[in-house]
C-alpha cells in the first residue's frame, strides 16, 4: 500500500476506515485500477517513479461528508487533495501535487443550487460541469448564458479556481472574475462563507462580492487553504445578436497603434466580446501556429507578396443588433486613418442559434460547451492531436504591440534552440481583460522524451522571468519554478502565502504544494 508522506500505516488505515464510515465504503478507493483514474493523463512525469499519484481517493456526497473527511484527515495529518471533476489535464488533472495524497473527489456534489434569473447569477456545487449547467439553462428556458472553456467537460468551480477562461463577454470570460460568493470547508473542518454569505439571512450573497473587511475569495484561487463546496457566479444575459469583425493593417509598423486603440476601445466598453490579435501573413502556413515575427522590411515584403495583412485585430460584440452595429461602425472610425486598413465582418447572427448555424460557430463563444477541440488533430492543422497529450506554457506579457513581437521572437527562438515542438502558438490570448497571455502548446509524451521536455520548459520559465513574463497557470511539475520566478522582496509573495498556509492549515493537510505553497512540515522537501 502506498502511504502519504509523514503518515504511519496505522493512521492511514484507520483514516481510510473512518472515511468509509463517513461516506460509504463504495466511495473510498484504494485499489490500483481505481487510482489509475486519478492520474494526470498529460503528466510530464507519466510512468516515472516521480509521477504524482494518489494513495487513495474519497468521494463525499455533501458538505457534511466533506467536513467529516477533512476532520478525519486533519486528526491524522493525512494530506488530502480536493478536485472538482479533475478535467484540467496538463494542469494536474485529478492527480495531487504531493505524491501519496488522498484525493477528495467532489464529483458527486453536482447540484445546481440556484439559477437566479432576476439576479443573473447561479450558485453551484463543485461537481457541476459546464455541460450540466448548459443542459439546465436549455431545459429551463433560461435567459442566461454561462461562459465556458474549451473543452467544456470540466466543472464551473474547478475551472474558476484554476483561473480558467472562456470566450464570451468581458467580466464573465475570466471565470474567477465572475465569482461572487464562496463556501469552503477549512482545514479544521469548519465552514466559511465569503462576502455577503457570512451574514445570516442575507439575500445578497451573489450580488456583492466583498462583504466587509478583506475580500477572502482570492484565498481559494489556485490555493491550498480550503475545500470549496459552493460557489456563486455572475451570468451573462443572452444577447439579442452577435457580431464578429476584423481590422487588418498592412505594415509591420502598424501593430503598436492597432493594439493601443483596441485596448482603449475595450476598456471603454465599446466592444464586449473577447478580442483576437493575430498576423494573417505569419499564420498562412498554419492557422494555429504563428511563425516568428521577421524584421519589418521582410514582413512588409511578405505582405506585399501575399496580399495578406501584417496584423489583425478581431473585435466581437454581443448585444442588441442596433447597438452592436453602431459600436462596430465607431470601432472602424477609430482605425480609418491607418493607411491601407481593411475592415471585414466575419460573422453575425441573431439568437437563438439555428441548427444550421450551430454547425458553423465556435460554440464556446455562445456559452455552449464542446469537446470538438479533441479531434482538431484530424482536421489538417499539422502534426497535432490534443488527445495525445500536451501542456500549455502561458505567460502574462505586456499588452502592447512591442509585447507581442518581443514575446513571439523570444519564444520561437528559445523553443527552436531547445528542440520544443510548438504545435499551437497564439501571440496574445485575451480571456482575462487588460492582459495578454502568450499561449504555447507543446506535446507531452509517454516515454523518456519527457525528461528533456521538463528541462526545456524549466529553462523557458527562467528565460521568460528574465523578461518579466510570469505564467498565470502551469502543470504541477513546474509550480515551484513558476512561484520562484515571482521573487520580488526575496520571495515575499511565497513567504506570505506560507505564513497564511501555516496559520489556516497548521497540520499541512490541504492541497500540499499546490502552486508552490508548502506547509511547514513539507517545506524542506519540496521535491517529494
Amino acid at each position: 500500500m502506498a502511504l502519504p508522506p509523514g503518515v504511519t500505516e496505522t493512521d492511514f488505515v484507520d483514516g481510510l476506515a473512518a472515511m468509509r464510515s463517513a461516506v460509504g465504503s463504495e466511495w473510498v478507493f484504494d485499489q490500483p485500477a481505481d487510482l489509475n483514474t486519478y492520474r494526470d493523463f498529460y503528466s510530464v512525469l507519466w510512468g516515472e517513479p516521480e509521477e504524482k499519484m494518489a494513495s487513495a481517493a474519497v468521494a463525499p456526497a455533501n458538505v457534511e461528508e466533506v467536513q467529516q473527511v477533512v476532520r478525519i484527515a486533519n486528526e491524522r495529518r493525512i494530506p488530502i487533495y480536493p478536485i472538482s471533476t479533475g478535467r484540467n489535464l496538463g494542469y494536474g488533472g485529478s492527480a495531487p501535487v504531493l505524491n501519496g495524497s488522498v484525493v477528495v473527489d467532489l464529483k458527486r456534489m453536482n447540484r445546481i443550487i440556484e439559477v437566479n434569473e432576476a439576479n443573473c447569477s447561479c450558485l453551484v456545487e463543485p461537481g457541476v460541469s459546464f455541460f450540466d449547467m448548459y443542459r439546465h439553462l436549455e431545459e429551463s428556458g433560461s435567459k442566461l448564458m454561462m461562459s465556458v472553456p474549451d473543452p467544456g467537460w470540466g466543472s464551473l468551480v474547478g475551472n474558476a479556481l484554476d483561473s480558467g477562461g472562456g470566450y464570451t463577454a468581458a467580466g464573465y470570460r475570466g471565470h474567477f472574475e465572475a465569482v461572487c460568493g464562496i463556501e469552503a470547508v477549512m482545514a479544521d473542518g469548519e465552514l466559511l462563507r465569503t462576502g455577503m454569505g457570512a451574514l445570516p439571512g442575507s439575500e445578497t450573497w451573489q450580488q456583492y462580492r466583498m462583504g466587509i473587511g478583506p475580500c477572502l475569495d482570492g484565498l481559494f484561487r489556485q490555493s491550498t487553504l480550503g475545500v470549496v463546496t459552493k460557489m456563486g457566479f455572475w451570468m451573462f444575459p443572452k444577447p439579442e445578436a452577435y457580431l464578429s469583425a476584423s481590422v487588418e493593417v498592412m505594415r509591420f509598423e502598424d501593430l503598436e497603434e492597432l493594439v493601443e486603440i483596441a485596448n482603449e476601445l475595450e476598456y471603454a466598453n465599446l466592444f464586449n466580446g473577447m478580442p483576437g490579435f493575430s498576423s494573417p501573413v505569419l499564420t498562412r502556413a498554419n492557422p494555429i501556429v504563428m511563425a516568428m515575427v521577421p524584421e519589418p522590411e521582410e514582413m512588409n515584403r511578405l505582405v506585399g507578396e501575399t496580399g495578406l495583412a501584417a496584423w489583425s485585430f478581431s473585435p466581437n460584440f454581443y448585444g442588441p443588433e442596433k447597438v452592436i452595429r453602431a459600436q462596430w461602425e465607431y470601432v472602424q472610425s477609430r482605425f480609418a486613418h491607418i493607411p491601407g486598413v481593411r475592415f471585414n465582418e466575419t460573422g453575425s447572427l441573431r439568437l437563438p442559434i439555428s441548427a444550421d448555424e450551430m454547425e458553423r460557430i465556435h460554440k464556446p463563444r455562445f456559452g455552449i460547451p464542446s469537446l470538438e477541440i479533441f479531434n482538431v488533430g484530424s482536421r489538417g492543422y499539422g502534426d497535432f492531436n490534443p488527445s495525445d497529450g500536451h501542456i500549455w506554457f502561458s505567460a502574462v506579457i505586456p499588452r502592447s504591440g512591442k509585447g507581442i513581437v518581443e514575446a513571439n521572437r523570444v519564444m520561437r527562438r528559445e523553443c527552436e534552440r531547445l528542440g520544443l515542438n510548438l504545435f499551437m502558438f497564439a501571440p496574445a490570448v485575451t480571456c482575462w481583460t487588460r492582459s495578454f497571455v502568450l499561449f504555447a502548446a507543446v506535446p507531452v509524451y509517454k516515454d523518456e522524451r519527457n525528461a528533456h521536455l521538463r528541462e526545456a520548459v524549466s529553462e523557458i520559465i527562467g528565460i521568460c522571468a528574465e523578461h518579466g513574463w510570469g505564467e498565470y497557470r502551469c502543470p504541477p511539475a513546474f509550480m515551484d519554478s513558476v512561484m520562484d520566478a515571482y521573487s520580488f522582496g526575496d520571495h515575499k509573495l511565497r513567504r506570505v502565502n506560507e505564513q497564511i498556509k501555516d496559520a489556516l492549515d497548521p497540520n499541512g493537510i490541504l492541497s500540499v504544494g499546490r502552486y508552490g505553497v508548502w506547509p511547514e512540515r513539507f517545506r524542506a522537501g519540496r521535491d517529494a
Binding site: 463504495e26 493523463f41 478535467r87 460547451p369 464542446s370 469537446l371 479533441f374 479531434n375 484530424s378 492531436n385
Partner: protein, 133 residues
C-alpha cells in the same frame, strides 16, 4: 468490480469488434446496449436493420455525449461498444471513468488511419457499484 452479467456482455462482443468496422457492423453483436461508430472510419451505413441502437458521429463526440451518454451513464447498466478514432476514445474514456465505467476491451484495428488518428474498437462497461445493472 464488474458483474458477471456485464462481463458476459462485453466478452461476447469483443472479438467481433476487433475484426474491424465492417465485420463488426455485419455481425451486430449481442450483449451491447448500443454501438458507436465514427464515420471517419466507417463512412457508409451498412445494409440491414441493426439489432441495437447505432450512434454515428464524425470525430467530435460532443453531440453523442450531450444527447445520449451524459444521461445514460448516470443510470445503472448500459454497455457501449464502439469503433472510433483514438482521439474520440480518449475523451469517452475520461468521461466514462468519471461515471463509474471503464474500457474493458480495446483493440487497435489494422485499418487505415485518418489524418494520423488510429481506429480502435472498444467496449465501455459499468464498473462502480452505483452504476452496475
Amino acid at each position: 468490480m464488474i458483474s458477471r452479467r456485464s462481463l458476459l456482455k462485453w466478452t461476447a462482443v469483443a472479438p467481433a469488434l476487433a475484426a474491424g468496422s465492417h465485420a463488426a457492423f455485419a455481425r451486430m453483436p449481442h450483449g451491447l446496449d448500443a454501438l458507436l461508430l465514427d464515420e471517419r472510419f466507417s463512412p457508409e451505413p451498412q445494409p440491414g436493420q441493426p439489432l441495437i441502437p447505432v450512434m454515428r458521429f464524425a470525430g467530435d463526440v460532443t453531440r453523442v455525449w450531450y444527447d445520449h451518454l451524459d444521461r445514460r451513464w448516470r443510470e445503472p447498466g448500459y454497455v457501449l461498444g464502439g469503433i472510433t478514432g483514438s482521439d474520440a476514445l480518449f475523451v469517452l474514456e475520461n468521461l466514462a471513468e468519471q461515471h463509474g465505467r471503464r474500457v474493458v476491451s480495446r483493440t487497435v484495428l489494422d485499418e487505415p488511419h485518418f489524418q494520423g488518428v488510429a481506429p480502435i474498437s472498444w467496449v465501455i462497461a459499468p464498473h462502480h457499484p452505483s452504476v452496475l445493472a
